[in-house]
């Protein structure tokens, strides 16, 4: 297992205080004796409609001056009851609900859901389907990280990376659109395969995109990684130790920034991830800056994976050959009666999963994304549960933000990379 520690382009301030904060610095709370001003604590409400909360998140803060004493997150403003809805839909009809949860990396959610159902049904998808799904999941990991990069940079005052990263995201939107017809709500997967095979020229377009992306990453790297303002705003802000990170349930880049080399792709490999050559970036300090470095490096590693996957993309069918699960082709439906009836039966009655349950997780862009499906042998789930990585990551914010300034709270919130659609579900 190749684990690489992220390299620091600049030295960290040597005058580090014992509590892990710099002894001086423009953004660090100053440990001066508290003057007797007779002030009282203040309650400040941030959100739910506030651009810095990255969605309809509401943070109620107890402040002493400008120092955050306590943060109480309130969520649920975007609650749509997806899990309840899923219990009333067929196994394939749940797929459109999954991409509405994390609309920043929808294909990862599409894939994770059907992978869990396929485990439950004991279906092994075709080689081509595996590789295509790996490409799509890595592409959307970049997709999610690029949004995080732009919006986080803009939260601490850097406007340019936002433009750069959204320019690149637009290219991924185009790739989504040519594959699925939709830019955000992709719904690209089906149990046993994909909605459609890759269109003509898609692989080349994807290759062109990943060839060009590193240039943009380098530019953003140059703008942010050694930028004094960015360093001041991120280094030693929102620190969490490795043990705490595990106990609080951190996963994904947030956990790895604390120095825990846990990546589902390496530890519980699926879709032959063990045969791909890629590194898992691991941080040291568990602060916002390390989370930034981990995500930047992850995008470069995803590019490596996409290159390897496109190299090995095999020919052959993308759907499995199982008439109980997969729809016949439209051409067949229009030409022979058997396929027509078969198509009608699957559409109106749905496919059946055996009695049982399956908890399956993939490495999402936000962390470990688990999908738990329970079946009673019928055509729809008894229970469909999403282990939402951002939900668990967000629950740590009271601990991370305690004792920081309000402006640091914004940075900490941004560094967690949350998406409220998935938190509230």
């Amino acid at each position: 297992m190749s684990i690489r520690t992220v390299e620091y382009a600049v030295g960290r301030t040597p005058e580090m205080g014992v509590d892990g904060r710099p002894a001086y610095g423009p953004m660090a709370p100053v440990d001066l004796p508290e003057p007797e001003l007779g002030s009282e604590h203040m309650l400040i409400n941030i959100g739910p409609q506030h651009p810095a909360t990255h969605g309809v998140l509401r943070l109620v803060c107890e402040l002493d001056g400008e120092t955050v004493l306590r943060v109480i997150p309130h969520i649920g403003y975007l609650h749509s009851g997806f899990e309840k809805l899923g219990e009333y839909r067929g196994w394939n009809q749940v797929v459109p609900l999954t991409d509405r949860m994390d609309y920043l990396a929808p294909l990862i959610y599409n894939c994770a859901y059907v992978m869990s159902v396929e485990r439950l049904m004991g279906i092994e998808v075709t080689e081509r389907c595996k590789v295509v799904r790996v490409v799509l999941m890595e592409l959307d990991r970049i997709f999610g990280h690029l949004l995080w990069l732009g919006t986080t940079a803009i939260d601490v005052g850097a406007f340019t990376p936002f433009l750069y990263s959204f320019q690149e995201r637009e290219k991924i939107y185009t790739l989504h659109e040519s594959l699925t017809g939709a830019r955000i709500t992709t719904s690209a997967t089906r149990v046993g395969g994909m909605m459609a095979d890759l269109p003509e020229g898609w692989a080349e377009a994807c290759r062109k995109f990943v060839n060009e992306l590193p240039r943009t990453l380098d530019e953003v790297d140059y703008l942010l990684t050694t930028n004094a303002i960015h360093l001041g705003r991120t280094q030693d802000v929102g620190v969490i130790s490795a043990d705490d990170a595990i106990n609080y349930g951190f996963t994904g880049p947030n956990l790895r920034a604390s120095g825990v080399p846990y990546d589902v792709r390496k530890d519980k490999p699926y879709y032959d991830y063990e045969t791909y050559d890629f590194d898992v970036p691991v941080g040291e300090h568990g602060d916002c800056y390390d989370r930034y470095l981990c995500r930047m490096e992850e995008m470069r590693q995803s590019i490596r994976i996409i290159h390897q996957a496109l190299d090995r993309l095999p020919d052959g069918p993308i759907d499995i050959d199982d008439p109980n699960v997969v729809l016949p082709s439209k051409t067949d439906c229009m030409n022979d009666m058997e396929s027509m009836i078969h198509h009608f039966k699957i559409i109106t009655e749905g496919i059946e999963a055996p009695v049982g349950e399956s908890w399956f997780s993939v490495e999402g862009s936000k962390g470990e994304l688990g999908m738990y499906v329970v079946s009673d042998g019928g055509t729809k789930p008894v229970r469909w549960r999403v282990r939402p990585p951002s939900f668990v990551n967000l629950s740590v914010i009271p601990k991370l933000a305690e004792g920081h300034l309000v402006s640091d709270l914004i940075m900490i919130n941004a560094s967690l990379d949350i998406v409220l659609g998935e938190i509230d579900r």
Binding site: L43, E83, L85, R89, G122, E349, Y372, R387
Partner: protein
């Protein structure tokens, strides 16, 4: 809670008629087979943690199932769940440091609700799913927040959506649904897809919220004289008009105040 006494206000006459009935029922096979949940796999390969659990806890460890090829599920007596999970977390041969997921499953039909703990041992590269069955008339189980901080929000979610009470939880209140939500626990099978109240009633309740309903008692007390807060036991801000009972939202028109009480509406 009093939620269980609520019933759907005449489900046969929903405001939307019967056009949505098919949607609410979802797909069903025409030749629907009899469902048997007991038909779980029988030949289960051994799992090192389950063997150790049986040796340590004996009778408290129930059935051991295998699902989806390689996923081990073990049922545990609800009274011993914290001991079992603490053993799994702390023991050197187990070291399940990660509580990846905590959720619940309601199979409906009066069957017990299952609380599900999904564990992962990074040291041994092993995963295990531990389940507890709670009968519908005794939906409480000890909280595991002392073991894993991540259980805080996950248990709040199960409490919110299933109505399972986690004893010993530091701050057990609703998380996804609003604090004053009175329709019950949405992910229970006896909860209708469109909720228990009519759309009009739901809208009326949402519009009738006071600003301070969005704050917890702790938050309302920040920066204010504790004695003053204690005196205003109804939680209203100084200068506000006196409030009605918290469950009955104010009715601007002033007519049919009894409609605010859901029991009255269902008759």
């Amino acid at each position: 809670m009093a939620d269980e006494t609520l019933s759907h206000p005449d489900a046969s006459r929903t405001p939307h008629g019967s056009a949505f009935d098919a949607v609410e029922q979802g797909p069903r096979r025409s030749d629907e087979p009899a469902r048997d949940l007991a038909s779980v796999p029988t030949a289960v390969p051994s799992h090192p943690s389950v063997a150790a659990l049986r040796a340590v806890f004996g009778e408290a460890i129930g059935a051991h199932q295998l699902h989806a090829g390689d996923q081990h599920v073990v049922f545990v007596d609800a009274a011993r769940i914290v001991d079992v999970l603490e053993y799994l977390q702390q023991d050197a041969d187990q070291q399940y440091a990660f509580l990846l997921d905590l959720t619940a499953v309601d199979y409906g039909g009066g069957k017990p609700i299952q609380v599900v703990y999904q564990l992962w041992s990074m040291a041994h590269h092993r995963s295990l799913r531990v389940k507890v069955e709670l009968p519908l008339n005794a939906l409480d189980v000890a909280s595991v927040v002392p073991l894993w901080k991540t259980a805080d929000w996950l248990e709040r979610e199960v409490f919110d959506l299933f109505g399972v009470t986690f004893t010993g939880h530091p701050d057990l209140r609703r998380i996804l649904m609003p604090e004053n939500y009175a329709e019950g626990h949405p992910l229970r099978k006896d909860f209708p897809l469109r909720g228990r109240f009519s759309r009009a009633e739901q809208t009326r309740r949402a519009l009738g919220l006071h600003v301070e309903d969005n704050y917890t008692d702790f938050e309302m007390g920040v920066g204010r004289d504790p004695q003053l807060v204690a005196e205003e036991s109804d939680g209203s801000l100084p200068g506000d008009a006196p409030r009605a009972a918290p469950d009955a939202a104010p009715d601007p028109a002033g007519d049919e105040t009894s409609a605010a009480v859901p029991q009255a509406e269902s008759e």
